[in-house]
Symmetry: C2
Subunit: 104 residues, 2 copies
Amino acid sequence: MTDTLVDVCAALGDSTRWSILTALGEGDASASSLATRLPVSRQAIAKHLAVLERVGLVEPVRVGRELRYRVLGSELSATARRLDAVGAAWERRLAAIKEIAEDM
Amino acid sequence: MTDTLVDVCAALGDSTRWSILTALGEGDASASSLATRLPVSRQAIAKHLAVLERVGLVEPVRVGRELRYRVLGSELSATARRLDAVGAAWERRLAAIKEIAEDM
DNA sequence: GCGATATGCAACCGTGTGATTGCAGTCGAG
DNA sequence: CTCGACTGCAATCACACGGTTGCATATCGC
């Protein structure tokens, strides 16, 4: 059910991946160019990009021999909405409990 | 700043923890009572609850000798809003790029 | 008080994963 | 055509983490 939701959250639960995402937030970039700015190897970044691509947070774009990546804010916003829906449901339950308590 | 954000996402990036959260969504429960419904040991659940409590997704409630946990939808919605803000920023950048491209 | 139930703590284990290095292949620029 | 740069794949390593078992401790009910 919430199968991909946990995957997206797991992908977002890594600080190195957030470094990559925020770097991509300022402009598309390839794994190699990211490796010059970030304190990790190119291959590590490539693996992270593969993870981010599999959950749809990032999209590959060929530019000549380079393979740049573009961050997809729409996917992030979509997961945000899904999380908010769940949180809202839980809050409704709490509010109902509280109302019952006040009736006594 | 986004320090706790990654922690919350990491906490949400585990299917067992989602099982616990959804179970708690139907009513407060202790680690022991959860262990009867879920296919994991009580101690494993206790560890997960500790993780969830540290990021504020869950709150302990003493009931006699029991220690029940209550799910906090407000925290989840708060993180959802933070994620949406980031996603919206990324989308704005893409929209700006697209506009520039169309001007040429 | 006594037994049953609930929690807490500690040690341990297997595996998943973040990260590295090395090498081979590919493709654009000069 | 050749050189340099970018990508892809494989092997390896260390550590964190999910999970378990065992035992000690507290506390409610009878």
